[in-house]
């Protein structure tokens, strides 16, 4: 597969080397307030009001979880253990607060341990319902009001409607720019690899949006000027839970499977839908947006929508095969992936399911499986 060597990609890779990167340090140095979060149900625009900015928690480059293993059972997923390990290692100390969602039991144990052992100055839990209805939207709106009020009083920041509208507009601009880059992948010979796109997306989730936007625009311009990616054996889509490390995508692509679409917790589809302000106030808009742009297996009676979204993306992006990645011991994706595999195969869509750890390991085995998957597709 012929790829390009882009300058902008190196910038994103460098920004992912540290969970608190130089852009976060720069913003914090300017008196702004970084807040960590770990779940897509946390509305980023709310954490972008006034001097606040969100940092999606990641632990790329983690070498082991020796300390965290003392506090979390070995049946707890390696993502949560990695975050706790980095927290013990003081790697997130620049963050001034943490916003959690009890998305799963593992994430709750992470929060319990962080609160008990690190005693951060600000911790908040958004109690997100597990079904979507008018009543749950009301509940979510109230939850977001509670978070907004706490942020306003704790950090002395402006969380009023005008401030939130401004944050939403800024987030929408970011989302539309990244989404437009992602949509270039619909082309028969896309001008960028899945590895590049993922590195850009992950770096943007871990950086203040305003400071990384120039890098995203530079990347977009570079992509538009350079040639297309040619010689790929198949167009793939990756589906699953938290995936931060672009190297996972790189290994898949090393076998000739170009990743053209994503549908995972930290991915762009449908995660980058713009917030629709509907005249019912910014907080209500964010409550509705949280459910529209997040397709999480924790949600009850929503499997059909999750399945349909994968099928729609397969058609829209002309995907040849789907790779489902599940972090070992992830209850939510572990359970959801079983009927998902069957349903997709029933639709004639080739599926490869990979169980993995949070950090990239067993690269040789991963390459073999992907190569065999492509071969089984006749590619």
């Amino acid at each position: 597969m012929k790829t390009a060597d882009r300058k902008a990609l190196k910038v994103f890779q460098e920004l992912l080397e540290n969970p608190v990167n130089r852009l976060v340090e720069q913003a914090a140095g300017d008196g702004r307030i970084p807040l960590g979060y770990s779940c897509s149900f946390v509305p980023e625009p709310l954490l972008m009001a006034d001097r606040l900015f969100p940092v999606r928690l990641h632990a790329t480059g983690i070498a082991g979880t020796e300390i965290a293993d003392n506090y979390l059972s070995s049946l707890v997923c390696s993502y949560t253990r990695s975050i706790l390990e980095f927290a013990f290692d003081d790697r997130y100390d620049l963050l001034q607060g943490w916003v959690f969602v009890p998305s799963c039991a593992h994430m709750q144990r992470l929060q319990d341990n962080l609160e008990y052992l690190k005693k951060p100055g600000f911790v908040h839990t958004i109690d997100v319902p597990r079904k979507v209805s008018e009543a749950t939207l009301d509940w979510m709106e109230e939850e977001l009001h509670m978070l907004s009020d706490r942020l306003a009083s704790h950090f002395q920041v402006d969380m009023g409607p005008d401030s939130l509208d401004k944050a939403i507009a800024s987030w929408n601009e970011y989302a539309e720019t990244v989404k437009a880059v992602g949509e270039l992948r619909k082309r028969p010979d896309p001008p960028l690899t899945g590895t590049e796109f993922h590195a850009m997306l992950m770096a943007s989730l871990a950086s203040p949006k305003d400071l990384i936007m120039p890098e995203i625009r530079a990347f977009r311009d570079e992509v538009e000027q350079q040639g297309d990616i040619t010689g790929h054996r198949a167009r793939l889509m990756v589906v699953g839970g938290h995936l931060h490390d672009p190297d996972f995508i790189r290994v898949i692509e090393s076998q000739g499977g170009l990743v053209v679409a994503d549908r995972f917790c930290t991915g762009s589809i449908p995660g980058l839908m713009p917030v629709e302000t509907n005249g019912r106030g910014p907080v209500r808009a964010l409550a509705e947006h949280a459910f529209r742009k997040t397709l999480c297996p924790r949600m009850m009676e929503d499997f059909d929508r999750r399945l349909q979204s994968v099928i729609d993306i397969v058609r829209e992006y002309n995907v040849d095969g789907v790779v489902i990645e599940v972090i070992k011991f992830c209850d939510l994706w572990g359970v959801d992936s079983m009927p998902l595999v069957t349903a997709l195969r029933d639709k004639g869509i080739p599926v490869l399911k990979l169980e993995r750890e949070y950090r990239l390991g067993g690269e040789g085995q991963l390459r073999t499986r992907v190569q065999a998957f492509l071969e089984s597709m006749g590619r």
Binding site: G362, G364, Q365, T368, R369, Q371, A372, E375, S376, G378
Partner: protein, 260 residues
């Protein structure tokens, strides 16, 4: 046209040379730390057995974990596809393949054309791999080949509570200290291995004919235990099952050369 396949596995490296459908030569060596060196060594031996030189080979396909490090191959194919291709080439009625290699095991299901329908691999745990048997044979003071042979003499095979290689060792040591006959221990080890791999095999859906490939397929104790576990006979292939990956690679090379 003469085609070759070279399979650089984690424990052994194999090569097969084909002229159309005729097997001209083959060889097997222990893998060294240098995959390129192992590949050259095995190919030299295979060529010698076929009385050929490298210049006689029109195309060689590489497979196995070291496939990307073989200097003389023009194309690489995953070992999953190669085992499927090799087994189907030898016995077209094969629909399910259980491949137990040195450090992983795979279950592969094929359609009537020999195309892969489904596959699953275990490469995260040593139990259910050739390594498990190596460790156990060493513990019993036996050669690996003897582990299979003596298990046929068992009268009361032990039941291993743990399939974890580390914990199973502790259990076997306990039974050894109690004076349990080695044949009973060997049979218990083979059955534990088969039970572990059978779980993997069932998950692709067992369809007959079923065969075993890889080095462990040469252990009659495991093959018989697998037949009991799955309730189906294992089709014995008419070539060393450990060579199946290299044979499949050679068949791929042959196809690429346009030989049907």
């Amino acid at each position: 046209m003469i085609a070759a396949g070279c399979d650089v596995g984690s424990l052994t490296t194999k090569a097969v040379i084909l002229n159309n459908a005729r097997l001209l030569g083959h060889a097997l060596v222990r893998s060294s730390f240098n995959p390129e060196k192992s590949a050259s060594e095995v190919m030299e031996k295979a060529l010698a057995s076929a009385r050929l030189t490298m210049d006689d080979i029109s195309l060689c396909v590489g497979t196995g974990y070291g496939r990307e490090r073989i200097g003389f191959v023009k194309k690489t194919v995953s070992e999953i596809s190669c085992h499927a291709k090799g087994a189907h080439f030898l016995q077209p009625s094969i629909r399910t393949i259980i491949d137990i290699g040195g450090q992983d095991c795979k279950a592969i299901r094929l359609d009537a054309k020999g195309e892969i329908v489904k596959f699953i691999t275990n490469d995260k745990c040593a139990s259910g791999t050739g390594r498990f048997l190596e460790v156990m044979a060493k513990l019993l003071g036996l050669e690996l080949g003897e582990l299979g042979r003596i298990s046929g003499q068992a009268t009361h095979p032990i039941t291993l509570a743990s399939t974890c290689t580390v914990w199973a060792q502790a259990e076997v040591i306990m039974h050894l200290n109690e004076g349990m006959p080695k044949a009973d221990l060997a049979a218990g080890i083979n059955e534990a291995m088969a039970a572990r791999v059978a779980i993997l095999a069932r998950s692709v859906g067992i369809e007959q004919d079923v065969c075993m490939t890889g080095g462990v397929a040469k252990n009659p104790g495991v093959v018989e235990a697998m037949e009991k576990q799955l309730g189906v006979p294992m089709r014995r292939l008419r070539l060393d099952p450990q060579l199946m990956g290299a044979l499949g690679a050679a068949v791929f090379a042959r196809e690429r050369l346009g030989v049907s």
